[in-house]
Subunit: 297 residues, 4 copies
């Protein structure tokens, strides 16, 4: 049913390749440029240059994130493309993940529509699955123990903290959830987790007992605040594994952890790294919602 | 440590009896009046009249709800006690579940402190467990099938809808979640449920397919709006069981359901009815939070 | 595809009604006699007398159990039918659940084929689901607590003990499994349960600590031996609920339990009582295996 | 309580290091020789030569497997030790995992007691946990999808097949279990899996439909028979991942798979590789059972 609609997919990584394949499977004529690798893109068609990809397209899909430096398109290709160039070539709507402020400003100045699909709550909720699984996969690779029976702590109980907790519990781990919000703690308790109250009025925000009660094998942090500073880290035994899922600036003093010999891993951008196929299909589903809203389909 | 603090527990049902027992276990001197039955109240002490219960008490605990008619105390005792009388007898803080507007007004007029512990988000989140289990217990009693393998629908994905969905999935049921909010649907999908979008723009709010896809054995409604009106009910096969967990006015046209021969059960106040011991302990935990905040302990 | 095959379903209860319905749904011409109630039997046809049900049938299906007294057919009908009469009327194979020794002997004497479908391991394994759910449903009705967080013990780790343990754990209960076989205990440990070794060399077979470690809310027995004798029962607090799922002679001294005021429930024949529709479909699936083996289909 | 008992732990890998640590934690005087690496062995003491480790010991613990070549001790050390030498040095009982026929024969000839602790059913059941987790960890590393929602097949439903199925289901995968034994299939169905009958009378043992029904992302084989021969492999799409958990000779024609471009991984000895700490503690628990039986403790 989407056969007469052409989409231009520019830039990106493995995740974007799967996205292009999925869009083609849904019947869109899908033109691709700027994707490295020899990966399968199914019915999508690679173009030699961005302009031929754009020819008679109804919308442009940029990757997540659209750019790393704010200027050039995120792409695994050698040819670099300036984001602003895309604004000059055509007037069709652009769907981009985290387009960045300068690109948004440039688009606004030219009265071009740029939709940030990363703003979708649906996308962020569904991304919690590959993020949580990716974090557990890292733990499985670094621990000498099975997840079943291991003692884990999850700091923060937002989308990712929740999904991680559920998954760890289902895999048989013992989970202690630390959160500031008491309602979240009640919710964690309902899931079968133990709870610890994060209280800024207490030393180390009340996190000092995190390795008590029979020890701890791995701590997953999801809070984007420097909770694991040198004071707290100095109380944590060296054989505890720390996995930080929080975005910049991260929740762990990595330098101090390294000095002390604690293994601390910053697991950023898990969906695209751990499960690009799933991540691509989540973006694809999200785009359908935006396409409907914007009248593309 | 709470040994020198006396609490007066007035009125209530089985849930309040367990609460009195739990308060005594935590070391409070617990005086009880107005609780029927011969049930165990552990170290709590029954009093002959409310005034002796109140003597030298630091706080009064009224049941959930504190009153059914807005005037007299909710009690299984023959002696009826007017709520306002309690205001006259002493000046200690009163902790009541759903005290009602007229009692709150009377208390305000007398400058007395009445805390509605039912307002606690923690309490409401934790009550989702006995509510969901109670609903499933009802379904187990009425269905000729096992929960495992049965096809269920959960309407609404708030606290109760979520807990119900998780529990049903863990018990092996096939679950379709219907909700208006797309982010909630994404969350339900993450849990392993199928999803259906409630859309007020569609006939029957988009709920017409609820019994499609291989049929449906039981529908749990948690939305406090008349979604299951005669039009929708007329499309539902007679062997489907309907369980309504929504508060007044309920989500089902019960009269129409009865006429048509559909089994529809309004499962109100599940925590106190299904699991009074758990419900009492949830209130006890909640009171501790309020006691701390109000300086009682 | 089964359209030209006629089956005669004689006697039984709700379970047999669902079985008749399921057989008709699979395309068999299904003739029914001896089923009480006005229940739906779908495309199956009620007959006025057993002989017309048998006319040109390819096989006879008797209920589970086929007889309670060894002589007359298990039936909710007022008309009683002697099992041996069925042997005289025709020569087609008979599929019966627990046909009983005297009926088997009579059939053998007349060179008639009687297949005991209750001997099917598949049937017994699948029956563990309605049995375990039924037991939990009983516990939910009798306990004042939620299953989530309750402390349970499962005695015996055969088919039913296993299914019960898995289900309780998934529902959030704390489970201690007691079994004699150490390999079973290892398996229970793998599921996330605590374990206790049943050792005949110890007092009360080593079951004395069953209510230790923080108490116990409900004990499910699945071992068909009098483990819960007066000595063990005398150590069990009165508020513990005992549910016995073992077959005759049962594992609990019910008379002593009653005297002592312990609630002890003997939950026999759960599949047919708790979930007749599921139980009927399990028998239906089992019959298909036998039909294939016996050349009926 | 084990303080006056000395144990000699000879040879092994990471798993043995954790075992030595655990034995020391249980109070045994633990002397170690032949363990490479700088790993923590807690309270266990490294010896310069095997004889000093053996001095006044009550039992010798050899690794799992005790030997790879049937002659020398399995050890990460440079010094090689002949198994038979151990027989000559002392007369205390030897506990070895898979000691091998020639060593057993040599021990028998010298009337020395050698117990094969790998024969323990408890050990093998408990090893199913690290084996299943290890297999899933490999799948997580190789798949571009999340386990949640992925379509998996488990071939064989013994100890490992069962644990794998449970874990995959709890993680949200769709699982099809293929097994020859119908009772095992009923058990798999009870767990929530789909089932496929392995039937030697059918082409490819009835496994041809394994990638039907919406495709398959990963196949886990646990059956130690060449089920995945070139004929079956030729029907499997190239993007399916094959993980073989069966022991020698393995269930997959790896050469053919490689030629065809199918990713096929032979995941042998998972407990020691994936989770040496857990594997060590399982051996430690198993040894306690044997020690009790042999009168060591």
């Amino acid at each position: 049913m989407n056969k007469n609609i052409k989409l231009a997919v520019l830039g990106g990584d493995a995740r974007q390749r799967y996205l292009a394949r999925d869009l083609a499977e849904r019947g869109f004529e899908t033109a691709v440029w700027g994707l490295g690798g020899e990966a399968k893109i199914g019915g999508a068609v690679k173009c030699r240059d961005p302009k031929s990809a754009l020819a008679s397209a109804s919308a442009i899909i940029l990757p997540l994130p659209a750019t790393f430096d704010g200027i050039t398109l995120n792409s695994e290709c050698e040819d670099k493309l300036k984001l602003n160039a895309i604004l000059d070539w055509c007037e069709i709507p652009i769907f981009a993940g985290k387009p960045g402020e300068s690109f948004l400003a440039a688009a606004l100045a030219r009265k071009r529509k740029v939709v940030d699909y990363y703003a979708s709550e649906t996308l962020q909720i569904r991304n919690a699955v590959p993020t949580a699984e990716g974090a557990i996969s890292i733990a499985m690779q670094h621990l000498d123990k099975t997840v079943m029976g291991s003692r884990t702590a999850v700091i923060g109980y937002g989308r990712i903290g929740q999904m991680l907790t559920w998954l760890l519990l289902r895999m048989g781990a013992i989970v202690t959830v630390a959160a500031r919000n008491r309602a979240q703690l009640a919710s964690a308790k309902n899931s079968g987790a133990r709870t610890l109250h994060i209280d800024p009025a207490l030393p180390c925000n009340g996190l000092l007992p995190i390795c008590d009660c029979g020890g701890c094998d791995v701590i997953f942090n999801t809070v984007p605040a420097r909770l694991f500073d040198s004071v707290l880290l100095s109380t944590i035994p060296n054989d505890v594994l720390l996995i930080d899922l929080s975005s910049v600036p991260g929740g762990i003093d990595f330098a101090y952890a390294k000095d002390k010999g604690i293994r601390a891993i910053w697991a950023l951008s898990m969906p695209g790294k751990y499960a690009p196929e799933t991540a691509g299909s989540i973006i694809c589903d999200t785009l359908m919602e935006y396409f409907e809203r914007e009248g593309i389909i």
